[in-house]
Amino acid sequence: MSPREFQFVFGGFLTAWLILVIYAVSLGLRERRLRKELDRVRQMVEKR
């Protein structure tokens, strides 16, 4: 494999997994936000 080919193959593999990792991280952040929101709403209900 020539260095140029390696560059493209590596770029392809990296891009593929980067997209999935970014999506997984965004899911994780969303989950954390939802859990916080759930705690907040639970406290609100308990206070009432």
Partner: protein, 226 residues
């Protein structure tokens, strides 16, 4: 139970992926070692994983229309979102390969454009869901878009046979392609399986979030009822 399934799928996916990477980079015959061909081993399975997700979303949407059970709508939304991530992988890896093989990042040929319209359609599906507040109206409209989107999926799948344009013709033997040497085809299917395992993990996480969202909504209703 759900956690166990999630971790099992993640471990199977990782093991398959490691084995496949080894095979793709070190074991495959010399023919696979030209023109950045290895990208195909991620490009094609990503498309297959996305299509599998869109078909599952179609089934869930049809079930929602038949039963009006919002659980199916939530399932369709979760699976579509994950499938769209894999469709993005398919488009991005395709563009990188195109830059190497054709010298351009993109060509407006029927095969590439049909996949882009498919991606845009499902992205539109997710945007539509954010735009409608009322759950049953959102679910009904989303279900119709999902069903319509799946017609597009069938078109994309057949486009590489129907249109003789810049995108390579089918190479897999299941599509009467026959363009790959012996032993070169199997890693595509194993990578598809690995990606399906990862998609399964992401769908489980996404469904857990849907459950939390529903709980938040019901607590809010309860709070407003006081």
């Amino acid at each position: 139970m759900r956690e166990k399934v999630m971790y099992t799928l993640a471990v199977i996916g990782m093991a398959l992926l490691t084995w496949n990477l080894y095979k793709i980079l070190f074991v495959l015959p010399q023919e696979a070692n030209v023109a950045a061909y290895q990208i195909v081993y991620f490009h094609v399975p990503a498309a297959f994983t996305a299509f599998t997700g869109f078909i599952v979303a179609l089934a869930a949407s049809a079930l929602y229309i038949a039963t009006s059970d919002l659980q199916y709508d939530a399932y369709a939304a979760g699976v579509t979102e994950v499938a769209l991530a894999f469709a993005s992988v398919n488009l991005a890896t395709g563009m990188i390969w195109a830059r190497f093989a054709w010298g351009i990042w993109w060509a407006w040929d029927a095969r590439l454009t049909s996949m882009l319209t498919c991606w845009l359609m499902y992205a539109g599906y997710l945007i539509l869901r954010r735009a409608i507040e009322e759950p049953t109206q959102r679910a009904r409209l989303s279900a119709f878009v999902s069903i319509l989107g799946c017609v597009n999926v069938a078109f994309v799948y057949k486009a590489i046979e129907w249109f003789r344009t810049q995108h390579p013709s089918p190479v897999l033997s299941i599509r009467q392609g026959g363009g790959m040497g012996s032993g070169m085809e199997a890693p595509i299917y194993w990578n598809w399986l690995a990606m399906l395992c990862f998609a399964g993990v992401l769908v489980i996480v996404r469904m857990r979030q849907e459950a939390v969202s529903r709980e938040i909504d019901s607590l809010r209703r309860m709070a407003h009822a006081y």
